[in-house]
């Protein structure tokens, strides 16, 4: 028989389990100051895992992600700046390792394409609405036909 106490115990263990699982990545790395810890968190969230390419370095369990997290942590402890760390990784893996692609001429369409398309669509839409053709007046014959057709039917 599962008592209330038992249920409470199971629930508590589940909650603890979930919170520990979430703490897995960032708490494995020790830093001297909370600022370093914050930088590590920020960097690993903004860098892509190249193996599981929809995940960031913080969440991925891939061996390469673990290695790169290690590299980032070591460099933070060595006193390197965020820019230096990012440059180090981009030099080896290219811009793809950043989740936010840099704003270059080649990525201009990537960044602004959707907005340009939306704007163009709105303009075309407004233009075609404005251009609605004028209603032509019906000729007398056509008007008579129309009246005939619109008369309420006597067949019920």
């Amino acid at each position: 028989m599962i008592t209330n106490k038992c249920l409470l115990l199971i629930l508590t263990m589940l909650c603890l389990g979930f919170s520990l699982a979430h703490a897995k990545t960032t708490d494995l790395y020790q830093f001297a100051t909370p600022n370093q810890h914050q930088r590590f968190h920020k960097l690993t969230f903004e860098l892509r895992c190249l193996v599981c390419q929809n995940q960031n370095l913080a969440d991925s369990e891939a061996p390469l992600a673990k290695d790169l997290r290690q590299q980032v942590a070591t460099k933070i402890r060595q006193g390197q700046t965020d820019k230096q760390i990012i440059d180090y990784l981009v030099k080896r893996y290219g811009d793809f390792i950043l989740f936010k692609p840099p704003l270059l001429r080649i990525t201009f369409l990537l960044w602004f394409g959707p907005f340009i398309l939306a704007l163009a669509s709105i303009i075309i839409l407004l233009y075609s609405i404005r251009k609605k053709p004028k209603q032509q007046a019906l000729t007398q014959d056509d008007q008579a036909r129309l009246n005939q057709l619109l008369k309420p039917s006597h067949k019920d």
Partner: protein, 182 residues
């Protein structure tokens, strides 16, 4: 003029469709998972490793100077590497270009047994136990193979196993071209 615009308007869905077909044709033929190397046309990154076969002996970037060479990143735990291995053996036998190896995050004993069993196509192998040298080369999976020119610059990176087709149609022409360049 209005007539021309009307005709254009009539054909615009077809034109848009054709443009889309072209984009899809090109786009769906690409591999979205492949990350092209950021190190093309740059000098080879650091390669200071102990030799797999002789732990006390060190290798460095000097091995890449003076001739066109291949660097193949492999491991015994990598299944695709086993698939491409016979092709590497063939390339080594043909003596067209030397192949250097980077044993990535492997166990030394396992690697030596593996090579004894399946053959050793490598002129020399660097043992990268923790994978740090591989990170310098922008390696994100195995196998990967770099084509390096006579001056020690990376000129091409093959992502994934080398098949006979890939060798004949993609890599061998590049190697031959680089060997012709002075």
């Amino acid at each position: 003029m209005k007539q021309k615009l009307k005709v254009l308007g009539f054909f615009s869905p077809l034109i848009i469709f054709i443009i889309m077909v072209l984009f899809f044709w090109r786009g769906l033929g690409l591999d979205p998972h492949a990350v092209p190397s950021a190190l093309i046309n740059t000098p080879t990154p650091g390669f200071n490793l102990n030799r797999l076969e002789q732990p006390g002996v060190k290798l460095n970037n000097k091995i890449f100077k003076g001739q066109v060479s291949l660097l193949n990143v492999w491991a015994t735990w990598c299944v695709s590497c086993a698939d491409e291995h016979p092709v590497l053996i063939d390339i080594a036998h043909s003596k067209v270009v030397p192949i250097y190896g980077l044993d990535y995050k492997d166990n030394r004993q396992d690697a030596l047994s593996w090579l004894k069993r399946y053959g050793n196509p490598y002129r020399a192998i660097g043992f990268d136990h923790n994978g740090s040298v591989a990170i310098n080369w922008g390696v994100y999976g195995t196998p990967e193979t770099f084509i390096i020119d006579k001056e020690g610059k990376i000129r091409y990176k093959q992502i994934g196993p080398i098949t006979t087709e890939v060798w004949q149609q993609k890599l061998l022409p590049i190697v031959k071209q680089l060997q012709r360049d002075s």
